[in-house]
């Protein structure tokens, strides 16, 4: 190759690189402004002093971080674990986990059903799955409240049928929260599961049965491992927003059963402790990140061992 040719090739390569950067720069700018910027503000705020009427005072303080888990005794200044905070953390994590499992248990058969319909009918069933998205989340959550409250549809029917004598207290319970969250997040589990199962080769089922697998073994040894990408995606899509859920626990938990989202909101509102709110937001982010890392590691562990 001649000297001239090589030079022009290098020029071309450099030109391409420059053009590639130019093309991604709007996206990078947006990321910087909309994601990294606010995150930086949150981190900075968590190390400032709370203003008396909200907002922050520009004075360094680790008070917010201490208050995430601990509380200071008013009289002797001693520190102890803040039980109320721990309860909220635990409730958020456990409810999110249970919601993820329940949406999977309900969503997998649903996704399988849709994926095994003739191609022309699948669009119709998927359309049904997406209908809840047409209505505002707030309205839907209030609708659930109407069904389960003391004078609601469910209690009225049960009372009328003579099954119960006094209305069942269903609102403001963990059960109500769970029902609401499973209802809201079910489509987010079904859709990625469907995407994974749609590509599933049904002939593999016959191969499994032919090779002496029972129905349970076909499910656990063939169907579930092959649809793993869909299970991972669905679980993340449900678990992450569940952890930060705000509207559902606000309405169905009635302010008594707070989750992390409500707790954070409280700090920026009535609590007037912006630094604590910021610190809690970061804690939420860290919990999500750790949960995702652990989850993805465990579920793809079999793979790594083999390779």
């Amino acid at each position: 190759m001649g000297m001239a040719a090589r030079t022009s090739e290098q020029t071309l390569a450099r030109k391409n690189t420059r053009r590639a950067w130019a093309l991604v720069s709007p996206a990078l700018a947006l990321l910087a402004v909309a994601a990294i910027g606010p995150l930086a503000v949150v981190i900075v705020y968590s190390f400032l002093t709370a203003g008396e009427y909200g907002g922050v005072v520009w004075q360094f303080s680790t008070d917010a971080w201490v208050k995430v888990l601990l509380e200071r005794d008013i009289f002797d200044d001693s520190l102890s674990f803040a039980d109320a905070h721990l309860t909220i953390f635990w409730r958020s994590i456990s409810l999110s986990l249970v919601t993820t499992v329940l949406t999977f248990l309900a969503g997998f058969p649903t996704a399988w059903f849709i994926a095994t319909r003739p191609a022309a009918q699948r669009a119709f069933w998927l359309f049904l799955i997406t209908i809840p998205f047409w209505t505002n989340l707030l309205v839907r959550t209030f609708a659930i409240n109407q069904v389960i409250r003391n004078e609601g549809v469910m209690n009225t029917v049960l009372l009328w049928a003579g099954v119960i004598e006094t209305p069942l207290q269903m609102t403001y319970t963990q059960g109500a929260l769970l029902v609401g969250m499973v209802y809201v997040y079910l489509p987010l589990m079904v859709l990625p599961l469907f995407a994974a199962l749609e590509r599933f080769d049904l002939r593999l089922l016959e191969a499994g049965y032919d090779l002496y697998a029972s129905r349970w073994q076909v499910l656990t040894r063939i169907i579930l491992p092959i649809s793993r990408p869909g299970i991972i995606a669905g679980s993340i899509l449900v678990f992450v927003p569940c952890l930060g859920a705000y509207v559902t626990p606000r309405i169905l938990g009635g302010g008594k059963l707070m989750m992390l989202g409500n707790f954070i909101e409280l700090q920026f509102g009535q609590g007037r402790n912006w630094p604590l709110g910021a610190a809690l937001s970061i804690v939420l982010l860290v919990i999500v990140t750790i949960a995702l890392l652990v989850y993805v590691r465990t579920i793809s562990g079999g793979d790594k061992a083999r390779e």
């Binding site: 016959e206 191969a207 032919d210 090779l211 002496y212 092959i226």
Partner: protein
């Protein structure tokens, strides 16, 4: 070596759909397959050959009739309870498992001890000569390698019968030839009964002990490759396997008299109109004085390498193709437009 079992299919009907719109994919099919036999179901697509295979595997249940394996009725057993394994047309290998895990899958599901599974998998890998690929994912293999893994996976649990659903159709011509002889070798080494489905008549002729030629849900003829080729019972079998000239004629004394007056000697006797099947390679050029000689005009010559196809028009308009072996020079002794004489060295009367 595992003992091989025979299969007996008795009066099997398989209908898809309900009521008047039901389609009979198999209509009263009966066949006896011997233990250790390489048995081929041959026919065009939609003839019911794959349905019959799926009934034997247990993926479908017969609408009527029974299927026996070594004398025991297996018609109602699910696939997982039949000592029968299948090599699927698309291979249907498990994409999430390695080559070795695929091969060991059946044994593992049977609950065989780990050591036995490992030992059998190693033996199977050696058999298909893919030992270096044991830890690979199946989608990292070529088509031919996947084919061999599918074969090993089906053979590993030592089935009494191996079912093969057009296993070579996805391979290119050269690889297919190799796999044909490899399959034949495996069948002879293991002594397992093979039931092989194909639409490729050449594949059926070269590999099978016996062939069942199927059409529209029926078995048209069962016989050795030689029998179905040289003694086809009807027009369908004669035309589906190899090329054939069909000539109309009438029974006369000592043979069949064609419409052009020529007499062709055939075995047996009868009366009335018949159809004769004459293979192109049985049509010979001859002298005008020979017995059964017919005048013909050469209309076209097509060179095929090993031989030359000579299209001829008989007096009276009937058309006949003769397959003449090519000379060393590549030429044939005749040209288009020549007037020649031909005779049939063998002919088969069809039941039609």
């Amino acid at each position: 070596m595992s003992q091989s079992y025979g299969i007996s299919v008795r009066g099997v009907v398989k209908a898809f759909g309900q009521g008047p719109s039901a389609v009979r994919a198999l209509d009263d099919v009966s066949v006896e397959i011997g233990g250790g036999e390489f048995f081929t179901l041959l026919g065009p697509s939609g003839c019911g050959k794959t349905t019959l295979l799926r009934l034997i595997a247990g993926f479908e249940m017969p609408t009527m009739g029974e299927i026996f394996l070594d004398g025991a009725d297996i018609s109602a057993l699910p696939p997982s309870k039949r000592p029968v394994n299948t090599v699927f047309q698309s291979y249907a290998l498990f994409p999430h498992l390695t080559v070795a895990e695929n091969i060991g899958f059946g044994l593992k599901m049977q609950g065989k001890p780990r050591a036995e599974v490992a030992e059998t998998v190693a033996r199977m890998l050696a058999l298909i000569q893919l030992e270096p690929m044991a830890a690979r994912r199946v989608n990292q293999l070529s088509g031919g390698q996947q084919q061999r893994v599918a074969l090993a996976r089906a053979l590993a649990p030592q089935p009494k019968v191996l079912l093969l659903d057009e296993p070579l159709s996805a391979l290119d011509a050269k690889l297919r030839k190799e796999m044909q002889s490899e399959l034949k070798r495996l069948q002879q080494e293991t002594g397992i009964t093979f039931v092989f489905v194909t639409h490729d008549q050449e594949e059926a002729l070269t590999m099978s002990d016996r062939i069942a030629v199927m059409s529209a849900g029926h078995i048209e003829q069962i016989g050795t490759p030689r029998e179905v080729y040289t003694k086809p019972v009807n027009r369908f079998v004669a035309s589906f396997i190899g090329e054939t000239n069909f000539l109309g004629g009438e029974w006369g004394t000592g043979g069949v008299k064609l419409s052009n007056g020529a007499m062709i000697a055939v075995d047996g006797k009868g009366s009335g109109a018949v159809t004769l099947a004459i293979r192109p390679e049985q049509v010979r050029l001859c002298a005008s004085a020979d017995a059964g000689a017919m005048p013909a005009t050469v209309t076209e010559l097509v060179y095929f390498g090993t031989d030359t196809h000579c299209h001829l028009a008989l007096a009276g308009g009937a058309r006949v193709t003769a397959r003449l072996q090519s000379q060393a020079s590549g030429d044939v002794a005749i040209g288009v437009g020549d007037h020649v004489h031909i005779r049939a060295s063998a002919a088969q009367v069809l039941a039609d």
